[in-house]
Symmetry: C2
Subunit: 327 residues, 2 copies
């Protein structure tokens, strides 16, 4: 499809004056970007943020949206223990947004790219009825690579940070839960400005044997399910060990629904023999780490609270008609 | 954003039983795909096809749409003289399409991937209001790499195939031009089922010096403009030398509008010293090649027809308000 002058201008603006690492031989402006040969195994991930599905414009500045579009991909690289290197960006542009909006969105994307050592090496613009930002991010496994399929019975299950804050922030932004002032800001920032645990991922990738790992983007229970499915194992999780922020507890009490199933945390879940204390692991990873349970034989994920065990099913794939809006 | 069971099922269907080359160490199913270290310079491109913008569902089968989403990216690799290797796919899914539709779309995508040696190594599904398929394709430059910025005065300008057929096909599909039977089929197929000139691109990449090249996706005049802008050169083009198909001539006569500006041809334009005849170049590239003009000093593109010279401006970047529907 022939591009309009406006589309070319948007591409030019996205790509103007980008800092460039040594790996990038040719950035935007040709049919493809050219990267130097890769000494290490390459990681590739793609993720998309769609207006009205993943965010609303009134929830945050364009900068925040731009940065977040890269962060959700950075988190996938972090979950594999990789070092992010280069990305390409597809921007679907709807009517009603002006160049000032895109300049801000690009600024957020570029600042996050610079902060994490990522070269933006190419882009594409298309018209659409919804704003959408799709990023493909490349990385390398110079420290080793973490996978989902290497959890073994006897491993302990750990998570970084606290869980459920982002899901709570999403519900506050969406008007489903009320919060004000600092509480609102902390929780909504946890949704809008997640942190990709890149340094923690690399520290894990240097451990031997390499831990199994995943980022918690779909919710602890669902992402744990991915680990168990790929590793052909089960897990016992201690409900009381799931790390919750003070503000989560203040709003939700002991209700673990959002911590277990809320999504958007972008923390890491990993499984490794319990050789180190939580404190020692936290120091090594540079982020708070909590042990929440153990990998066991079988295929079930069991949630225990005190004496009571609750056998929560690992999510099953259901029919197409299940494609639905989030709870 | 937490994924629904339907979204997981779609990803699983896209990625099931994919053939896999030696480069792919881990395909879909983890946070990232893992590719082997790359001996050659890497090429990266991203392109997107959006329903209602680039295609309508009633224009072709889901298989055709799936195949075309990969082909438009393959053409970018071809234009750099590269060998396509691996891709990731982002599918934006709107309500009202069933699994049978996506199975067919995937079948078209997968068949094209197999035919061109591409591993589909990852995917992402999101809900949206418009169907959109965004593909990031990787390739390598094992034979050398073609760029847009290496055209020099004295080079001849060549194109592969014939121009304007796809734009004509688009207008037939869109009801703007009438055609029936074999005429309709030939021209609409040129839009719906373009051929990425991969073998021709590789043959060009083996020539020394490496020709300047671009694929003609935005229309000959616009894409020639990209070459001239990046190479800081001008061009003189012979209107009578622009290759037109018999059916294009039958419908359009001598009107070059669609051949010059129509887009979607996915032929290659390249610039190289005129050492070989068109026939010899055609044999080497495995596709008909026609010389259409020369690179000259300056920055203007001049279209000559007989004695008359028409100085057509290279497209200029205009304001955001120019982002518009195609002519």
């Amino acid at each position: 499809m022939k591009k309009s002058p406006g589309e070319f201008q948007l591409i030019a603006r996205l790509c103007a004056d980008l800092p460039r690492g040594k790996r990038t031989r040719l950035g935007p402006g040709d049919d493809c970007a050219i990267l130097a040969p890769a000494r290490f195994a390459q990681l590739v991930t793609i993720d998309s943020m769609v207006e009205g599905v993943h965010f609303k414009l009134e929830w945050g500045s364009p900068q925040v949206i731009g940065a977040r579009a890269l962060t959700v991909n950075l988190s996938d690289i972090a979950a594999m223990g990789g070092v992010p290197t280069a990305c390409v960006v597809n921007l679907a542009v709807r009517p009603g947004l002006d160049m000032a909006f895109f300049d801000k969105l690009y600024a957020g994307l570029r600042e996050m790219a610079v902060a994490t050592g990522v070269d933006i090496v190419g882009g594409n613009i298309t018209r659409a009825s919804q704003l959408a930002i799709t990023v493909t991010l490349l990385g390398d496994g110079r420290d080793g690579i973490l996978r989902r399929d290497t959890a073994h019975p006897g491993d302990a299950v750990y998570v970084t940070g606290t869980l459920g804050d982002a899901a709570l922030g999403w519900r506050i932004l969406d008007g489903k839960i009320r919060a004000r002032g600092g509480v609102r800001k902390y929780l909504t920032d946890r949704f809008l400005k997640p942190t990709a645990r890149l340094a923690a991922g690399r520290a894990l990738a240097r451990m031997r044997p390499a831990p199994a790992a995943i980022d918690i983007s779909d919710g602890l229970w669902q992402d744990l399910g991915h680990i168990l499915e790929r590793s052909c194992a089960g897990a016992e999780i201690d409900a009381d060990a799931i790390p919750l922020s003070t503000l989560y507890r203040a709003l939700m009490g002991d209700d673990l629904e959002l911590a277990l199933g809320g999504g958007d945390d972008y923390e890491l879940l990993f499984c490794t023999p319990p050789r180190l204390s939580d404190a020692a692991l936290s120091r090594r990873l540079g982020v708070p780490v909590h042990r929440i349970g153990s990998i066991v034989a079988g295929s079930a994920a069991v949630l225990r609270r005190g004496e009571a065990a609750q056998n929560l099913k690992v999510p099953r794939l259901k029919g197409w008609d299940q494609l639905r809006t989030p709870d």
